[in-house]
């Protein structure tokens, strides 16, 4: 892209230069970092001294700039570097930030904004009110297109193996949109109630709030959402998507199979699930005890899938998945999990009373009665399945339940809360103890021959290896032994058709989950080995994506699956706030009692108040929560969450920097209490209160909404002040304050206005008359510097000042609102733009005009010009004048270089 002139910044100076150059016939590119052109002027109420409406002056220029045939505008874009090439032209690298809204389709209707669930400070209203993560910058924005602020994917969402938008459903629950929250999770997986209870919640491990007081209880919020939805909707709405005429077989009805079936059915495939067990649900049904995951919840989760027309055939073992093609299936997804228990390889494993954990748990979960009253049960193993078995044994009446584990507690793979729960229910733990054999009295086990272990050197995995202690053999009496030492896949019958790994798992292309047979895909534990429910669900979702592509005849390799923005930097999230209110997490409540005899759920659900409190702790890390409400409500289908950042290079003969100014941060004058006292505001905030697009309904005190009737202005806040390293006059504060005086007296006729000043600088055309007019209207001008401000109990403010006109005595006065007329500061960012050559600054860090008197706007770099307040504090007329000079200089430069060629 080649231009005659590149203009950085689209405030009044940048727009004026662009329009003049465009009218002269030059091709101009304007790069603006905000989502709208207009700079700061569009945010003002009126301009001085004419009291013309700032919007009325700005908006025609904004529209003219964006629609001018010779001007291109890149909004929401930042110039990263400008370098002069060998041909003498400038090359600029521009970063186009993704707006996540298709600007051609967006009509500016604000539906996305109205339905967005994330509130952040509105920088276009000086942080006095909220805007949304999805927003249009301000009502007069040009272009009037929405932007979605996304700083990255929130860590909770990013870390979810299934891709569940955790931040999204937390944000929806925060506003009580439980149905929408449920639907959002259902977009990813049907096993919502199950995950709400039995997920190990990697999201919580990444929650940024975890580094403050502790993470949000994200899993339990999900449970609340599922429970609420299931209570209100015991049966799902049956909805059969339009069929595409192809059939897919899913082998296995665990979380992977169910999730894949959901996605495939939504795509219009006729899906049938084959389940070897008598009831569907896989490990959710068979392995997880009902006290952790009630089976009616599993049933209801499954109905989310069958409601789409998916058929489930139970008691149907598939020995050869590839052969399902002969039954008319176009593709097959194998998700048979890891249903085989590993053997301990010790004598006596075949004795009566010795059972593997999966068999034991399955029997109970399928309703078989086992009475362990008065029995001693030894559970061998240290994982969660071992703990589940032990706690089930307690519930079956066992008098004594012992978990035998060969390492120490620290090495135990089971989650600490599971161990603690078991302890509270009376389970005994024998650490550093391993079985040597199971001793039988005839065919029935009566004891475990055990040996004491000690931890030796770390093994290949880094864990210290348990080593037997010589001579420590002993016996543990046992009526029943449950072995829980790992699970594996049952893939022996698949061997003939599918390539397997050494451990029996199915070999797949890790990117696509396609097996050695092209129409057979596999995922979940049968591919990964034993894992988490949420991992399996993620695999099911991924498989469905690639099966769909396969059946559509689309390329699998390189297909963009599950694109997400990178995770947001948690340190940056925390740095957004100067302070945090301490909000402790809600306590985990489990109904635990020694010797419990029933299978009722142990974990107490969160109350709605708990959910309200907990979701309120969310820091909105990624800003946008990805709750999808904007997508759901946009009538133009303009939301595109896959939009990505672009970097473009442009070439230009000349450059105009019109990067404007910064406002002085009033909180640096600590004696005035800005940011500490509620009713001390800045001049820019007062301008917003007076603007037609104001944040409040009129001029009100931010402290309590009172209509102020005694307002003070403190001039020269942060200018002409060596204590804040800004010794120069900002040239506009006196007059914008006088403007505000007049506007206030118009808006609030009964209000008293007092201006504390050092001297009023009314230097330009009409300024003196304007100042006199304010006085005539009733503004009280008090000559004297304000020393400090104090807040009273009622929010009023006491100003201490030197009353120069009355003998210089120290005086005080009470006001109900104080406006600090803050000064202007240079925008130093401009100096980082140029590479290979230095853009020089003047003594006050504004862009230096090397010969201001006879060559205005010319900078230290040949071909680079400065327009407006980037070169020094100016009022609007002077900025426009200066921008015209910059345009003329740039045009002359372009012509001069052309002539020299």
């Amino acid at each position: 892209m080649n231009y005659d002139i590149l203009i950085v910044g689209s405030g009044i100076g940048g727009m004026e230069s662009a329009l003049k150059l465009g009218d002269m016939g030059y091709k101009v590119l304007v790069v603006e970092k905000e989502p709208s052109v207009g700079g700061k002027m569009i945010l003002l109420s009126k301009v001085f001294p004419t009291l013309d409406c700032a919007s009325c002056i700005s908006t025609p220029k904004m529209a003219a700039t964006t629609h001018h045939p010779n001007i291109d505008v890149m909004i929401y874009s930042e110039v990263e570097q400008i370098k002069r090439g060998k041909n003498g032209k400038f090359t600029a690298k521009v970063r186009k930030k993704p707006t996540f809204v298709n600007s051609a389709a967006c009509t500016g209707c604000r539906q996305c904004e109205m339905n967005c669930n994330v509130a952040v400070p509105d920088q276009y209203n000086s942080d006095m009110v909220a805007r949304r993560a999805a927003y249009i910058a301000f009502p007069q924005a040009v272009p009037k297109k929405a932007v979605i602020e996304r700083e990255g994917t929130s860590p909770c969402s990013y870390t979810c193996p299934a891709g569940i938008k955790a931040h999204g459903y937390v944000a929806l629950a925060r506003v009580g949109k439980y149905k929408e929250a449920f639907d959002l999770i259902l977009e990813t997986t049907p096993v919502i109630g199950s995950l709400g209870r039995a997920c190990y919640a990697p999201c919580e491990g990444e929650c940024t709030r975890g580094s403050l007081e502790g993470p949000l209880p994200i899993r339990r919020i999900k449970r609340f959402i599922a429970d609420t939805h299931y209570r209100e909707n015991p049966e799902p709405q049956r909805r059969f998507p339009e069929t595409v005429g192809k059939k897919v077989a899913v082998v296995g009805s665990g979380p992977a199979g169910l999730t894949a079936a959901l996605h495939l059915a939504r795509q219009g495939y006729q899906v049938k699930i084959f389940e070897a067990a008598e009831q569907a649900g896989g490990m959710l049904r068979l392995a997880i005890p009902a006290y952790r995951l009630p089976k009616d919840v599993v049933d209801r989760d499954i109905k989310n899938v069958t409601a789409l027309g998916v058929e489930i055939e139970t008691g149907s073992r598939v020995e050869n998945p590839a052969a399902l093609k002969e039954q008319g299936f176009d593709a097959v997804f194998v998700a048979t999990g890891t249903p085989v228990a590993r053997s301990l390889q010790v004598d006596g494993e075949n004795l009566d009373g010795v059972m593997n954990a999966l068999e034991f748990l399955s029997k109970i979960n399928l309703g078989q009665k086992i009475d362990l009253t008065g029995k001693t049960v030894v559970v061998v193993g240290g994982g969660n399945v071992a703990i589940d078995s032990a706690r089930v044994a307690v519930r079956l009446g066992a008098q004594k339940v012992i978990v035998q584990y060969r390492r120490s507690r620290e090495e135990m793979p089971a989650h600490h809360w599971e161990i603690e729960g078991a302890e509270k229910e009376g389970v005994e733990f024998r650490y550093l103890s391993a079985p040597l054999k199971f001793i039988g009295d005839g065919a029935r086990v009566i004891a475990v021959k055990a040996i004491q272990m000690e931890l030796g050197k770390p093994d290949a995995g880094g864990r210290r290896k348990p080593v037997p202690v010589k001579g420590s053999e002993h016996q543990i009496a046992a009526d029943m032994v449950i072995t829980a030492v790992g699970l594996g896949p049952d893939t022996r019958s698949f061997k003939a058709e599918l390539e397997l790994n050494k451990n029996g798992t199915i070999m797949v292309n890790q990117d696509t989950l396609q097996t050695s047979v092209p129409y057979v895909f596999a995922g979940g534990d049968v591919v990964t080995g034993p894992s988490m429910i949420v991992n399996a669900a993620g695999q099911g979702r991924k498989a469905a994506f690639f099966i769909d592509r396969f059946l559509k005849g689309e390329e699998l390799a390189g297909a963009g699956y599950n694109y997400r923005l990178p995770p947001v930097d948690q340190q940056k999230v925390l740095a957004r706030q100067k302070s945090y209110r301490k909000l402790e997490p809600v306590a985990a409540t489990e109904h635990l009692k020694r010797g419990v005899r029933d299978f009722s759920e142990v974990e107490a659900p969160l109350s709605e108040e708990d959910v309200w409190y907990s979701t309120g702790r969310c820091l909105d890390c990624g800003v946008c929560s990805e709750c999808s409400q904007c997508i759901a409500t946009c009538p133009a289908n303009a939301i595109d969450m896959t939009m990505q950042e672009e970097r473009v290079e442009v070439e230009a003969c000349a450059v105009i920097v019109s990067t404007g100014f910064k406002l002085f941060d009033a909180s640096l004058k600590t004696q005035y209490g800005y940011g500490k006292y509620k009713n001390v505001i800045s001049g820019m905030q007062m301008d917003r209160l007076l603007a037609p697009t104001r944040p409040y309904n009129t001029v009100l005190r931010p402290g309590d909404g009172k209509v102020p009737d005694n307002i003070a202005f403190v001039l020269c806040t942060g200018s002409r002040d060596c204590t804040v390293d800004n010794p120069i006059c900002s040239r506009v504060c006196c007059m914008y304050s006088v403007k505000q005086n007049q506007l206030i007296m118009g808006a609030l006729p009964l209000a008293d206005v007092t201006v504390y000043y050092i001297d009023v600088r009314a230097f330009s055309k009409g300024y003196e008359e304007f100042y006199q007019q304010a006085g005539a209207m009733g503004a009280n001008f008090v000559k004297g510097r304000v020393a400090k401000v104090e807040e009273k109990e009622d929010g009023n403010l006491v100003l201490y000042y030197e009353d120069i006109d009355n003998g210089g005595k120290l005086s005080q006065a009470e006001h109900d609102l104080v406006v600090l007329s803050v000064g202007l500061l240079p925008n130093a960012e401009v100096f980082n733009l140029f590479s290979g050559v230095k853009l020089e600054a003047d003594d006050f860090s504004y862009v230096k005009e090397i010969n201001e008197d006879i060559n205005p706007a010319q900078t230290s770099i040949d071909g680079v010009f400065v327009a407006g307040t980037a070169s020094g504090a100016k009022d609007i007329p002077d900025s426009i004048l200066h921008a015209g000079a910059a345009a003329a200089q740039a045009a002359a430069y372009v012509e001069r270089t052309r002539m020299s060629k």
Binding site: R110, Q111, E113, M114, N115, N117, V118, A119, V120, P121, D127, M128, V129, A130, R132, A171, R174, V175, G176, R576, Q577, K578, S579, Y580, R581, W612, T615, G616, C618, L619, D620, T633, G675, K676, K678, P695, Y696, N697, T698, L700, P702, G703, D704, G705, K706, V707, D709, E791, K792, E793, D794, G795
Partner: protein, 80 residues
């Protein structure tokens, strides 16, 4: 009114949370910001952020001025 001001970002974030409580309070009739603050048990300057955010997004609107304070009433959201 004296007391710590929390970080503005944190206060504003809570608008989403406070919306239902404020709407519930306004079911009793229009209220001023200090009255709403009393009803929801939060400081007036924080309520100011929430009420003005809700006003911006069409959930509340001002009614009459009463002794220096405007009253706000619940209205049907523009986005609904």
């Amino acid at each position: 009114m004296k007391g710590e001001i929390r970080d503005v970002r944190e206060i504003i974030r809570e608008e989403m949370l406070m919306r239902a409580k404020i709407m519930a309070a306004l079911q009793e009739g229009p209220m001023t910001v200090p009255e709403i603050a009393l009803a929801v048990g939060r400081p007036a300057h924080e309520v100011m952020y929430w009420v003005m955010g809700m006003r911006k997004y069409g959930q509340v609107a001002e009614t009459e001025e009463d002794d220096g304070y405007f009253k706000y009433r619940a209205v049907l959201g523009e986005g609904k």
